[in-house]
Symmetry: C2
Subunit: 221 residues, 2 copies
DNA sequence: CAATGTTGTAAACAATTGTTTGAATATGAA
DNA sequence: TTCATATTCAAACAATTGTTTACAACATTG
């Protein structure tokens, strides 16, 4: 067939519109008309709008988790031989590489990151629950490896720092278009996603390895 | 009067609901019923939902910019005397202190940060434009001071790093509730906003002072 | 007091939302 | 072919949205 099938057309259109305007701000009629598909097709194929949102995420996260698990398998196997601990840089590098690989096929890394950002910031409680349940284990595996790579960090400190850098990455890459416009206008330099990751690397590493904070100030009691 | 007036009741209720669920997901009927106010009151006092959203932001950002300008005046005056340059730490410290001061009266720093996060992540183009036009100048002043404090950084690099740490702060503080739940469950330690800022300080400073990235890889041409 | 402008209110408005229906059409196996 | 299943489609559904209207209540000022 010349045209991709209905399900694919819906997913392709939905992910772009969701990334552009958010979930609540994107109506089914909006999606179906742009996808040149009947309105009822969404409910027929996906059941509901919620399920469509989850399906959009699965299409990215399923291949991501598969590849990421494989990459971590590799990494662990290589370091089991010489008995060394996987350095933090390598872990971060592996994650970055996997994130870059997955959506490369469809040229939509931007969309992927924007969706991730939305998953955090939009209300959509069902989405957070869905992502946690479906993909929580790969994140747990990763954080466990980070724990071994940074034994000097207290557990709680590491937890927060991981989310600090997660914030940096998601915030930057999901708002990339707007930031890129400003950057090009002000500094006349074109910024690709790979450039950004190159800039992010030393910042993220330094952030994770920053000196420990002063102990909390005790109130007189 | 025992009850605060209608306008205040609407603003108080709206900011909480907006922060909890986002703008599109919060209906006017939702706000007015919870605020025990007639539905038409919003359009009567504010004109439209958009204007209400902007008014919610003004109530935080107006006092913030005023205080922040004053704090920067102080800082500059003190350093003009001995001719020294304001160190980065002091600039960041000043900003953090101002952010903490402003909503302290209403015990709603969480709401404030969450709103800031929404302003970035939600579609609401009118909001971004409004904030940029109304409050862009204070941000420009701040970045100019940061420029003087970090002369070793190329302009573009500093631009990106500022947005990296902006991402960290907004992402963390605006998703605070969810993260706090996980942290308390996993590490049995209660985290206040002040704790978080204490943890953020060394991370942000290290991030800004990270080594420069490797120069971009040149393709063969 | 009377007049005037401000604020509060119930009801209706038109538009848009996600979802469902039932019939039409296409597809594929017997 | 024939039958059954899968898909598409236009239409309608009920619910919810932001906004407007017309009127009542109130306050303020002359």
């Amino acid at each position: 067939m010349a045209q991709p099938d209905t399900v694919t057309r819906i997913l392709d259109t939905a992910e772009v519109l969701f990334a552009e305007r958010g979930f609540a701000e994107t109506s089914l009629r909006n999606i179906t008309s742009k996808a040149k598909v009947n309105l009822a097709a969404v409910n027929y194929h996906f059941g509901s709008k919620k399920s469509l949102i989850q399906a959009v995420f699965s299409r990215y996260l399923d291949p991501f988790t598969t590849r990421f698990h494989a990459a971590l398998d590799d990494l662990e196997a290589r370091h089991r031989q010489d008995g060394s601990i996987i350095p933090l840089e390598e872990l971060l590098e592996t994650m970055a590489r996997t994130v870059l690989e997955v959506p490369a096929e469809r040229n939509s890394l931007k969309v992927f990151m924007r969706l991730l950002g939305l998953a955090y910031s939009q209300a959509q409680g069902h989405l957070r629950r869905y992502i946690q349940e479906e993909y929580g284990s790969v994140f747990t595996r990763f954080t466990e490896l980070v724990r071994k790579a940074t034994p000097e960090l207290p557990d709680a400190e590491r937890f927060w720092r991981l989310h600090f850098v997660l914030g940096t990455v998601i915030f930057t890459l999901s708002g990339l278009d707007a930031l890129r416009d400003i950057a090009e206008q002000d500094y006349h330099e074109h910024v690709s996603v790979r450039d950004l990751i190159r800039r992010l690397r030393p910042v993220v590493v330094s952030a994770m390895q920053a000196p420990l904070p002063e102990p909390p100030v005790q109130e007189v009691s």
